[in-house]
Each structure stands twice: as C-alpha cells, then as structure tokens.
Symmetry: D2
C-alpha cells in the first residue's frame, strides 16, 4: 500500500475525508503539517505564482518537480503533485512517473486536458480524447519500479461537457488503473459534485473521489464527505492569504518607513528560526567543521 | 554605472534613502515592485525558509542563485543577493561573481564571517580576518566581464567587537573595492548605527551605508537617512507576515472544514491570475500551438 | 549585430563558410574552441545522449538549457542551441527566448516539426503547419530584451515533402524574421542541398544557409560553401568518437584488469588538469580562504 | 544489506575484487554497464571537467549530485559518488547524506582533507583532523532514513604523512562507522598500498579496501586483490580516452573540412540511437500523444 492509500483507508475507517492543502514551498509545507492536514497539494497555480508566471504550462517539469521536492523535504506529509496533463507525450509521461517516484513524491494528479494547459477557471481549455488520456494513466501505473498513487482529474464539467461524459471518463480512467478520481467543478454550489458522486456510486465504482472547493467554499468537509468525497483539496487559500498579508505589510512599510506598526501582528524572527528547524542543527566545532 | 549605483544617485538627489525589501520568490518580488520599493533583498533567511531549512549555509550557491533569479525574472527591480560569506574560498567566490553577474543579478552583499555561516542573531558566529575578507571583495570586483555592485557587510558589532574594529574594517573593505557597506546591529536602538555612521564620516569615507532595522523597527527610513544610511533593508517582514497569515488560514480551514470564513479577507483567485501576468499570455491556436 | 552575425560577415569577407561543431558538455566545448571551430552546436542528440535518453523531446527545456549554458561557460565561442520545435506553445516559446537570451546563448535553431519531436533520421515525424511555425519564429524575434540569432530549420525534405514546399517554407520563415535557415537532408549526396540553395538564390533571398552533413560526409566545407552554405554543422562526430574510444578503453580495462596497455594512447592526467583550467586557479591562503 | 555490500560479498565469494570505473554522464555510465563493470565511480575530476572547471571544489553539491543522478538514471549499476570532504560543516554533511540517499545514490566516498579541496595529485592539500573527519563519517551513518555505503578515503600518504598515521586514521574511521576504506597513493608502485593493506590486516580490521591505480597502472586487478584490495577504481581513464579521441576527431574535421576520413573509425549514428534506448520508446499516436 502506498502512503496515500494507507491514509485514505484510515480516514475511511474514521468515517472522514482527507483534508489536503495547497502549499508551494518548504515553509508553507511545514505550516500545513503543523496545522494537521493529511497531505500536501503541490499545485500548478501555487508553484507557477511562486515563480511569478501564469498557470499555463509555462514551467517545465523540472521546475515543477523541484518545487514539489522542496515541499517533500520540508515535512513528513505525503505530497500529491499536480502534473497538469503530463507534460508531453507518453514517453515524457513515463519519464515523469519515473522521476517523480524516484524523488519520493507519493502521488500525482493528471488531468484530461490537451496542452497547452490553461488554468481550469480560464476559457479556451480543450479536453483530451478520453482513450488517449486513459492510456496515459496506464503508462504511469505500468512504469517499472514506481508506485505512484494516480489521481485522474476529470475536466469534463469545467469544459461544459455532459455529466454522462464525465462519468464515462471516470469509468475509463479507473479501468486504466487510476487509484482515485478528482472531479473539478466551477459551480458555486455542490450540485454537480453531488450528481457525479451519485452517478459513480450507481455504476458500482468505488474509486476514491477528490474535490476542490474553490468556487463552492460554503460546502464544508463533512458535507462533501457525505456526498461521496474521500478527499478535499484546499488548493489556493494559502497563496491567497499570502497575497493579502504581504501586500498589506509592504504597503505599511512604504507608508510608515518602518515595520513598527506591524511588529505585533507578524510572527517574530525567532518564530522563523523555529519553523526552519534551527534548534536541530548539530553543534559545530570552533574551527567550523 | 550599475543600476544600483544609478538609483543610489537618484535617491541621493532626492535626499532620501533607498527602501529595499526582502522577498524570497516570484510572487513576493512582484508584490515588492507593486508596493514601490527600490530594490529586492534576496536574503538568506527568506530563501532558506522557503526551502524549509535553517539560515546556516545549508543551501548551496546553486540553490541560492536559482531563487534570486526567480525574483529577478518576476520583476524589473534590481536584485541584491545575500551571498553569506561567499560560499567558499576565493576561487569559489570568483565563480560566484561570474555566475551571479551572468544571471543578471545586480548586486551581492557579502559578509565578513567565517563559514559555517550562522544567522547573525544566533551565537557562535566567527568573524573572518579583515584582510582575508577584503581580498574576497577585491576578487569579486576584479572578476572579468562582471560589474556586480558589492555591499561589504560588517558583522563586527554583531560579534561583540569594538566600534574601532568595525570602522577599520569599513576602511579596508572600501579600499578593496566595495561599492557600499552594510553595518549590522542587533541593538534595539540606533545608537550603534549612529556611532558607526558618524565615525565613518569623520574618516572622509563617503561609501553608501545600508542598514537592516530588524531589531530597531522604531527607527524609520527618514531617521536612518538622517543618521547617514543610504539604504534601508526590510529583510524579513514579508516572511513574518506570511507565517502569521498562512498559519491563521490553515487553522481556520482545519477548524471550519472550509475556507468560507476566510473568503472575504484573502485575495481572490482572479487576483492571483492578475499577479501572475495571465492577461499578457499570447493567444494560442485551436491546435494548441 | 549579434556575435553570430558578426562571424558570418567576417567569414563571408574571407569567402568561407563557418564551421560549427557539436559539443555536449564543458570539455567538448573546450576542445572545440582549441581546435579552431567558429561556434558550438549544442545539439539535442548529444545532450540527450549525455543524459542517456533518446533524442525524442524527453529532456525538459530546463535540462537542455542547463547543458547549453555549461558549454557557454567553458569557452568563448558563440553557442547555437538546438531547441527542437520550441518546447511547447507560443507562450513557452516566448519564455524560451527570454531564458536562453538571459543565459547568454547566442543563437537558437528551431525546427518546423510538431511535437513530440523525433530525431530527424527516424520515421514518424510530423511537419508543423508553416504559418504556425513562422509565427513561432516571429515570437522569438519579438521577445523583449532579447537578441537571439534564430536559425529556422526546414525539415520538409526529411519528411518527404517537395522542394517547392521547402522553398515556400524558407520564404515564410525569412519573412517572419529568421536570421538564417538550416536545410536538413538525409540523402547521401548533396543533390538536394544543391537544389535548395539554387532555388533560394533564384528568389533573391540572401538568408545565410546552414547544412548538417551527417549523411553526406563526402562533401567538404569548401564544396558546401560553393553550393551556397554559409555554415556547416558537424553535429555528432564528437559523440560518435567518444562512443568508440570509451568502449575500447573500458573493454581493455576489463580484459587486462588494468589500464596499462592504454596509457600511451590516452591523454595524461596532467592534460585533464590543463584543459580544466587548473593553472588559472587563484592561490589560497593557509587557512583555506 | 546495501547493494554495494551485496556485490562486495558476492565478489569476495568469487575471490575477486570489484572493478569500479569512472564515468561522468549518462553515456559513459551506459558504456560502463555494457562493458561489465561492477559499479560506477562518479568522480569529482570527471564531473568537474564535464563542466569545464578544475577539480578544486568549484562545483556545488547540487551540481555534483545532479551529475551523479544523471549516471544513476542511465544504468542499473550502483553509483559511488565522490563527495570530496563533504561540502561543508557537519550540518551540510548531514544534508548531503539525506539528499544523496533520497536520490538513489548507493554510496559516497568522503576524503579526510580540509576544504578547499584540491585534486590529490596537486600540492597544497591539507589533511583534516582525524577526529573531526571521523565525526563527519558518523554523521553520515547516523542520518535518519538513509543507508548510504560510506567509503572513508585516507589522504595521509598523499599528504606525506606516515604509514602509522594512515593506519591510525583507518582504525578511527572504521570505528566511526565507515563501511569501507579507500587508500590513496601517488607512488608509481604498489609498495605503499601493500604496506597499508598488511598493516591493516595486522590490526584485525577486515574493512574492505578500495584502491585507485592512477599512478601505478602496472598493477592489475588480480595483483591488487592479492595485496588486500576489495575494489579497484579506474577513475579517469574514460575521460582521458575522450580527450584523445575528440581532439583527434576535431582536428581531422578542421583539416579535411569533413568527417569523411573518420567515418570508418567512429561509431555510427545508429549506434548512438541504440545506446540512447531509442528502441524502447513507446509508440505515439498520430496526434502526437
């Protein structure tokens, strides 16, 4: 069993859904772990923004993996890496599987869009042929010496396709070896999610389902679990909090010419040292070795 | 003239000090630029924490430079890269100069401590011999095909040495070619800074001086400028704001099982897209090219 | 004028073609410079093989660029980086242009094939629509703050298309801003090359033409220049020599249990030191600084 | 048991020494595997030269590890990575152990010199205090979640110290947890090696011993095994063969303006494809996926 399968089983035993949170670097991964999340979402939007580029397949697989590894090294939580549509053709997908597994990434989430990937909330995305995508899933699962947990992310509802199409895709992807599904929706209610989960249950498919409540935050983890979700991904809230906080901080410093008015509301420098693990440094000798 | 020399001259003409702010990735660099800062401080503490490791010389020069470049690519501001004590012997210092200049980094700040570098606010730091350090400064300045702006950072006061020692070091480093000095202090008032700046003026040294008011936030940029500072580095306030904001966000999500209570206080997803430059993506053809 | 334009002009003045040689790392770049070549071909086949992977678009742009930079740092010759079909859509092509120029790469050679790129000597390559490709060329040329020399490589003859198609493509690509053309042929004679060069001259197009005599080694640089080539790329001969030499060396060591029989025919260890630039290391102090 | 311990045991059962060969990239690793070597030596001299820089601690750990990983990915052989004196203080050594193990490197060889490292055949190397170095070895062995095979390389004889000092160091390093020793000698005969191995046997130390017959190639693997060596490292012969072969190839091309005279003596392009694994590419669909 992979670590993600283990924690899914344990959560199912506890009758709860996994809570997965988006991080984009070592610090946010550490904070995710301390807050008690079950796993890290190493998402494309967050990592792209950490590079200052749009979420449009701009970064290379090398850059995306390096940032996922940065998170993996900083905490003990399992990492679910967003790999867009797999970064290229099947040979590249196979190398991706090898390199992500080699690097200690626990799972990948691959989506059924054609390149150039565009953030799901933008227009002009183009769905991949479901059989082509299913083949890509099977290539990951069959890559030698890897045991990546594969989440197949269905973008059919985002692209305006029918619920039937979404469910057909689900069946194909599970058959191809996907360990879980992610159903993406840009509705402001959970109606679509509800229908998809019900539809899937009718087909006797018991694949775990992940959801990403970016546009429907009024649904909480308990409600989403009751609808059928095994995992909830809070993909971008950390990054959004960072924007607000840093913007405010920088504006205050510019306004006052000092950080004095902020000192009581921002973490201390000692807290930074603590989070970085400074206390577990080995002592060094006088000659600096 | 290098870009940093230019903005120093312009600021002097405006009778003000440069305001330099610590960033650690593309997003924070973009926010620094939008807030109106003059330059970016690509500091060791911030970059280390972005990797989840302590500020103790743990990251390699490759990792440090890559993160500085990430900031450089994300904004138009000049980048001042913190290079600790230079990452090694003079041959490594020379390669550092070549690689940082090649990458478009505008300036480096090198400090007169011996490896293993330790954050200046920790004990057990060991000063470098001033002549050895001055030689390192001259090696950077003499590296062919580079024009890095070099800030020589004096750690004498941090290490408990005398003001006289600090001033002697200042003279040596300027003679070796340093374009500016940074005087670091861990006092809660500006008394030390004041004395150092006055002392330096008495020697007819007109090198620009940078200060880092981490422990003395009650001194604002105008006061520091009056004392003699040409630049003020707000090194870690952005990172400290991030810790508080992300910690709060993650705790709220864990508590409520959703981000609903946070939605009004955190930036929108559209704001993330805007900051990432999504609006300036070129249109792609139907076949995705 | 870019460096490649300069050396093309100078070679034209000397009535000769440029000699460009394939390298794949720092050592081979150094040897290319010492042998007197005019520029380095940082080719996909060589770099891929240096990673042990097939020339099929497997490596990321990050990996390809890093190896081109390794060559650039090791010598003073201009680097022409093979960028396959541009690594993705126009936004990725634009970033490619920015990053390659930022890294000091002098020129790129982009080819009019659709991804997934396959080595030109394999079947199953698919040509890109010429207008889509021409747009890609113009995107590179119009990327702000870059002045990459762009060679548009025509694969029409390789793909079995007509000479007319190849010439039409040439006209389009030059109009789009290409600084030079490369015409690729897998024939064992120069007949195709001859026709293409003549055909181009008839259209009054005076774009420099690069050729890659892998399958027609009996044509020498003087003959190719007379036919109309401004540059000749010896793409893979260095790598092929390496395979033979290392294979022989390793077999001999396995056979004899020592390198004794090889000692007189392989370079000395001192020669390795010399090539690495060991003689220009700065002296270090007794304390190792 | 680690892979290196396993193959050492198996070789001991066959009454033979391991044959380890220096490689520096994917291609040379593939050729080493095909020739039948037991393991790869990812040496500092070879990797440095592949970057075009001297073997003087110039490359960062990141660069050294990346090239070792390149070899690891290209073949199935165990990789022994040369880590100079550990790249820094004990905290850096500990991170080195974590990262190398995480990357799938099987073993590291660390040497008892003080930084700045210099190639062993150059003057001005400075030995590390043996207890400081032994501590470094123990830090590697005690790093959590790693099982690196550690070769402690003794430079005492290179530095002109006595045989007694070399043997005392050997005892300390084995006690600290070293899995094997490497004894380096720059003599042209095996007399030193012989004495060291005999001396060690007298102390009842049965640690495996690696030797590096660069300056004493007349001793073959059988003789070295009889003296007491468990492994022989042919560190630089591949690189030396490359220099000769590429130099000759480039000179011939410059002389003849073509590769025609070389065609019969260098590997074919098809051979490059074969070595790169082109035959095991997955087929791609017409739409290039």
């Amino acid at each position: 069993l992979s670590r993600l399968q283990e924690i899914l089983l344990r959560a199912a035993g506890d009758d709860r859904a996994l809570r997965v949170v988006g991080a984009h670097d070592g610090l946010t991964a550490i904070l995710a772990e301390r807050a008690g999340f079950d796993a890290i979402w190493a998402g494309g939007l967050g990592i792209s923004l950490a590079h200052g580029v749009p979420d449009a397949g701009i970064l290379t697989m090398t850059e995306r993996l390096a940032d996922a590894v940065r998170m993996k090294r900083a905490c003990e939580l399992p990492i679910i890496a967003d790999v867009d549509s797999g970064f290229g053709d099947v040979n590249i997908v196979r190398r991706m599987a090898t390199l992500y597994a080699e690097a200690g990434i626990d799972g990948v989430c691959i989506e059924d869009k054609r390149g150039p990937k565009r953030n799901s909330f933008w227009p002009s995305n183009c769905l991949e042929d479901p059989h082509v995508f299913a083949h890509r899933v099977s290539v990951i699962k069959e890559t030698p010496k890897t045991s990546l947990f594969v989440i197949a992310r269905i973008e059919a509802l985002i692209a305006g396709e029918s619920m039937g199409d979404a469910l057909d895709r689900a069946a194909l992807y599970v058959e191809a070896g996907a360990d879980a599904l992610a159903i993406h929706s840009k509705h402001e209610t959970v109606a679509e999610i509800d229908k998809f989960c019900s539809g899937l249950q009718e087909t006797d498919c018991d694949s775990p389902i992940f959801v990403i409540p970016t546009t429907y935050p009024s649904a909480d983890v308990h409600q989403l679990h009751r609808l059928g979700a095994s995992g909830v991904i809070y993909a971008n809230q950390g990054m959004r909090a960072i924007v607000s906080a840093v913007e405010h901080t920088f504006e205050e410093i510019m306004l006052h010419g000092s950080s004095l008015p902020l000192e009581s509301s921002i973490a201390s420098v000692d807290r930074l040292f603590d989070l970085s693990g400074a206390h577990s440094l080995l002592p060094v000798t006088a000659t600096g070795q």
